[in-house]
Subunit: 341 residues, 2 copies
DNA sequence: ACATTTTGTTTACGCGCGTAAACTACAAAA
DNA sequence: TTTTGTAGTTTACGCGCGTAAACAAAATGT
């Protein structure tokens, strides 16, 4: 590979001039600039990223901490990652995929301190996320997919607008004529970590139910499909006798559909189901096709990466469509007016 | 962050000694070694990766080229990636996620030449893969998930044992009593790129059918679920009147199940369905549960990464369970003896 | 005419580490 | 005693680039 020195010699200028042509941080006269550029082309010159990183103090590499614990049924996480990776590429950065089995980040901090990582993107963010505080203390810039309860400080997030999504979902059910609906959320395990999404979705649902005058019952289920199947029985046997459910978790939605099919419960006639988090690509696997109001994961990953990188560059906030994403209500085959109107 | 110089000073040795303690490339006396190590701990020293990379000529970063074109229904690709990323982590490497929309790799080569990438892992490998040859020409080490028809040269692969899987699948069908079976593969588009998996699976099926004396009919379908739904009609209307199908592609399997449910065809009574590529995590979304013989994607990603990294380190082949993975036959609810025995 | 600024380019050095080569101390062999 | 290792450590330099500071030349002002 050609080096800066070779380019400089071929162009008949000093090495610094080559660098300045590349960075634009000093004005270089047009003729010189042309000579340098053509020399670079002739030699197929690419500045060595390691040398740039060492001299410049930044690696232009960010990490995406990828939760592997819950290998869910749907690939939302992958889409977050692809969106972020693609954005990074486009901005001259690179995204390293960092599988995490727990929430420890000492290795991440060590790697950042070793100069390999300029920043980190986090998923499955908790309201009070110890990872965020640890990274902040270590002065490592953080981008979030999701957000903590500290709205002001950790400003580099891309999150769902749970209040808005819950409102749209409940409003839709209200307009269909439902009076009593259920909200299916994840069972909170032994661990104390409460993913912020659960809290915000819950709060949004409660507020929306109140606003539209619906009676709301909460059901809990773990993330797997079988739990969703068991859950259906809880739902139909519940004294709340809901006519529709809004489910946060794709596994539960599918489980409900499957069990309904088995026991002869008609969806959406006997029960409406709306999923709040099933990616487009997954819906085609469901039968009947799930109605959804799901987050645009790819765009959110893109947004988080762009905001983080803009921060790393010290540039002002990029012009992005939004930081809070509602998701589009997609009415398909699992929602309808209740049959006991 | 502490530097080598600080460690050296605190330990009362030269900087080189610190490096040699770390690398082990020269013998250092035990007492000195202890002093150095304790100094490193005291200062929480981490060698700067960029400086290491610049001085040493290798970045310890590899890229995983991630095909984004076909956002499939299942997340096999993600598992390949997680396996590879986790293996990389464990070996002190990092894996950057490189989304690709087409098969061009000039950017990849440029980035490798810029010193950021030591090697590349490829997926969706074609029999004659122009990416492999381009990377080889550029002297960039390649690991494959899949493999080309050049068995000897591009030895760093982890692939399915399609012949073995096809044999196991057909044998299973034969033992169930099926006489006429179908093989569902992907429709080959306008593009000339034929993913090696399609060729090898096809050849394996033909050979196995011959071996076990079954009549084999090939059906083609694109990757989406709706195509699979349409395909079921082709299958039942086909003069071949097959009693079971083996499907390479998860979308087709699901589509068949769905359409069967709609038109009242009983699976597996009227038609057995075996999927050759549906990951575990996806099966729970199907109803009835798909019988499968699917590749252990995580392990394959792990294997590809380990072999590539071993090559980069110049060490001998790591001791890995295998390079060709059969996949376990998982009999679930979509396969049975034909009812017209 | 000279002083001053502006513009364009170069010189010079540091970033933190790997490692070849040189060196030192000391043991073994002659 | 002198010679010849040998083990352990250091010296010295290069990796390729960013960028502050120095500099030269041209433009501007007085």
């Amino acid at each position: 590979m050609a080096t800066r020195a070779e380019v400089a010699k071929l162009a008949g200028v000093s090495e610094a001039t080559v660098s300045y042509v590349l960075s634009g941080k000093r004005k270089i006269s047009e003729p010189v600039q042309r000579r340098v550029v053509s020399a670079m082309q002739k030699l197929n010159y690419r500045p060595n990223r390691m040398a740039q990183a060492l001299a410049g103090g930044k690696s232009r590499v960010i990490a995406l901490l990828f939760p592997t614990a819950a290998k869910g049924i749907a690939n939302v996480d992958l889409e977050y990652g692809l969106g972020a990776a693609a954005a990074a590429q486009e901005l001259g950065y690179h995204l390293v995929m960092w599988p995490t089995f727990d929430r420890s980040i000492s290795e991440v901090i060590a790697t950042a301190n070793a100069g390999l990582l300029d920043g980190v993107i986090l998923m499955e963010v908790a309201m009070q996320d110890e990872r965020v505080s640890a990274l902040s203390k270590a002065k490592i810039p953080v981008g979030l997919i999701g957000r903590t309860d500290n709205e002001g400080r950790d400003s580099l997030f891309a999150d769902r607008d749970f209040a808005g999504a819950a409102d749209a979902a409940v409003k839709y059910f209200a307009e269909l004529g439902h009076k009593r609906i259920g909200f299916v959320t994840e069972r909170r395990g032994k661990s104390d970590i409460v993913v912020a999404a659960l809290v915000r979705a819950h709060d949004g649902m409660v507020a929306a139910a109140k606003k539209y005058g619906l009676k709301l019952t909460q059901f809990e289920s773990s993330t797997d499909v079988d739990a969703g199947r068991r859950l259906l029985h809880q739902i139909i046997e519940s004294p709340a006798s809901v006519t529709g459910v809004i489910a946060l978790n794709p596994g539960a939605s599918v489980g409900i559909l499957q069990e309904a099919n088995i026991i002869g419960l008609s969806i959406p006639k006997d029960l409406s189901v709306l999923s709040m988090a099933s990616p487009e690509s997954f819906v085609s696997a469901t039968q009947p096709r799930l109605s959804t109001i799901s987050p645009p994961a790819y765009e959110m990953g893109d947004c988080a990466a762009r905001r983080l990188i803009a921060h790393l560059e010290g540039s002002k906030e990029p012009d992005l469509p939004q930081k809070l994403w509602l998701g589009e209500l997609q009415v398909r085959e699992t929602t309808a007016a209740p049959n006991n109107l």
